[in-house]
Subunit: 410 residues, 2 copies
């Protein structure tokens, strides 16, 4: 099956945003064994959009459009596809009702323009949008399939995953399956070196590493005719990799490090509290992003000022004066302090210099101390992270979460 991805949006042609949707969809279509022959970006212009869709229909079997499904006059993808296919736009009452319900739930009047989002090309199928007002659409005519998806990745990705993927899977024969192994604590070149023999001998399944912020992901991909055969190939390779990388692998596929930590905590019936200085709430935010976090995460303190470290966490003034707020000693007292204050099994702390200001020769920007307090005492870890403020904060939060994970594993 030949396919083509059309993004509609002047903001892409102005370079305001990068076409990440095309990359995402290309990866997913490749997994399905569907060849992508073209990406096209066209602006919010009716005539050019219609021509682009017509051109695509001539040379491709499957055309996926992204963007241009919003309520404004600039949003014209649906109109262009209907014109190119020679179909009328008709009201789809369930969609209009969903949009009305959406505005009722958020207690705002529905602007009249939003009604147009409930119109679809005659005979098409609606893909419900759980994250916005624009429904997606799948429409077939003359052996060609056109799928219209909303532009915002937060709407497009779940819609593709939940609605389009099952729909397309039924239509393809060769099967691509993959598993992502998620690795933390070692870098990409170390992974490459440790797995050298596997990399050199790979055929089917293949393995490929991806450097992510603070992590490495390793994709195992098998191409087979059956799900069972693919699963077996992947299981075998996964075991080989695990035997080498051991506890550096923390999870699979979409499991995040924070989800892994919450899972471990819940399984072991452990509670945690967090005292953050330079990470400023990022660790707490990542942990509480996990549904069910409230079963383990009890309390967080963002003690940005010295006064709050003393008042809330019982950090000794003397410690702050003698060793400074960014020190092993302060990290240790913060961890024990938040643990005592919250009455949790584990107390985690981070204190550091996120920059861009505040660094010195002795204590450079990026220097962070992480403390972890448990029933058996307090341990601290010193790190120097590279990059800008946000990268330092993120990598410090990743390291802190990994320390919790490894502590529980022991």
């Amino acid at each position: 099956m030949k396919s083509e991805i059309i993004a509609v949006g002047t903001e892409l042609l102005l370079g305001n945003i990068v076409n990440s949707n095309a990359q995402y969809l290309s990866q997913k279509l490749a997994d399905l064994g569907i060849d992508v022959y073209y990406h096209v970006v066209v602006g919010d212009n009716f005539r050019r959009a219609v021509e682009t869709v017509r051109n695509a229909l001539e040379r491709s079997d499957l055309v996926i459009t992204t963007g241009g499904l919003g309520p404004t006059d600039d949003d014209l993808t649906k109109e262009a596809v209907a014109e190119a296919l020679g179909l009328e736009l008709v009201a789809h009452e369930p969609s209009i009702k969903r949009i009305e319900d959406f505005f009722r739930r958020i207690d705002r009047p529905m602007p009249e323009s939003n009604r147009k989002q409930g119109y679809i090309p005659a005979g098409s199928m609606v893909l419900e949008n759980d994250n916005g007002t624009a429904p997606g659409i799948a429409v077939e005519k003359n052996g060609k399939l056109v799928i219209l998806l909303p532009g915002p990745p937060k709407e497009l990705v779940p819609m593709f995953h939940e609605k389009v993927l099952p729909y397309l899977s039924k239509r393809t024969e060769s099967m691509i399956q993959s598993r992502m192994l998620r690795i933390v604590g070692i870098g990409e070149s170390m992974v490459q070196e440790m797995l050298r023999e596997l990399f050199e001998s790979q055929t089917n399944p293949t393995i490929a590493p991806y450097a992510k912020e603070g992590e490495v992901h390793l994709r195992i991909t098998a191409k087979t005719r059956s799900e069972a055969e693919g699963k077996q190939l992947i299981d075998e390779m996964s075991e080989k990799v695990q035997a080498i990388l051991k506890e550096n692998i923390y999870g699979y596929d979409d499991e995040t490090l924070e989800a892994c930590v919450i899972k471990q905590l819940l399984q072991q019936k452990l509670t945690i509290s967090v005292a953050e200085s330079c990470t400023g709430g990022m660790i707490a935010s990542r942990l509480t992003e996990v549904p069910g976090a409230s079963g383990s995460f009890m309390n967080g303190a963002i003690t940005y000022s010295n006064a709050s470290k003393v008042k809330l966490l019982n950090v000794k003034e003397e410690t702050l004066v003698r060793f400074g707020a960014v020190s092993e000693e302060t990290a240790a007292e913060m961890a024990e302090g938040i643990r005592q204050l919250s009455g949790t099994d584990i107390g985690l702390s981070v204190t550091g210099i996120a920059g861009p200001d505040g660094g010195s020769e002795e204590k450079p920007v990026g220097l962070c101390f992480i403390g972890i307090a448990t029933g058996s005492g307090v341990r601290t870890f010193k790190h120097i992270f590279m990059g800008n403020r946000n990268k330092i904060r993120y990598n410090a939060s990743t390291r802190a979460l990994d320390i919790v994970r490894r502590t529980i594993l022991q």
Copy 2:
């Protein structure tokens, strides 16, 4: 001048990389006042590449290609452009010599295949590559200009900047400037409705809205012959928009909402502390992402459990029992509690149900109460946010930051 950007490379169609070159070139062409009408990505296939270039030559005055200038058989952009233009490829001795010199400098034998990089379409101009072996090429025929650039951004960006920009600048007379107005508190369709008259009468400058997560961005773009003229047109339009949208505009260009709030706090010498339940540290994390936040942000508490709300924030047990943790009353006591605990001018609180579990008919997933305590008392706000857990948390944190902003403005 109408232009089009063609990227040649199967790795883009497989989703291995994102087309960041198209974004970069689009921004640069927009700055030059050159309209970009299409981006196209085509794989390493001669026939399809030739057709793509032919199609582009029919509809565009300027065609820029990226990628496919390497030494391997897969690199066929030059061949495809020559075929589409009806030109022979001829040896360009200075380029061949440069490539030979390159290999001599790195002390490696030159593979025979690299010689092909020194061939160019007859009559074209070479753009020397200071960062790799593939020369860029500019070729004109029948009033059409085709520019071929190497794919790696490390080669493409300096080549564009040093060789192509001066070349194109001479050919264009007009100049594009733009300003982004950042709006929060009203949705895209409301912006469109409020600005309907401006939208309908726009010519130069133009205005275009972009829906962002929890915000709307409005781009004003002017096309003029001088920088001063453009600035004046943008200033005038900006004033008109401001007169209508008023305090819903919080910032310009790259200024984030959290940066705006920190700026306001610092200007007014106000301090803030935050007590978060459902947002779990996201507000604190967003605020402390801003360099210099420590001048205003003093303390944060993530009181996830009821016990911590009582112990740390002095929320009355009776309030929790009678009205529940997610209630106007609890939000108010949390805001005042964190303000007292931290001794700050402002205390901000959020309590809500982020889901996916924990909702009821009376208190659905997405229900959030935001409290703000100042010297003049406590106010609370009720909202119901839509979407998944993370979207609810993010939109609640945006609303809370906006409440701080509007409170300071008053």
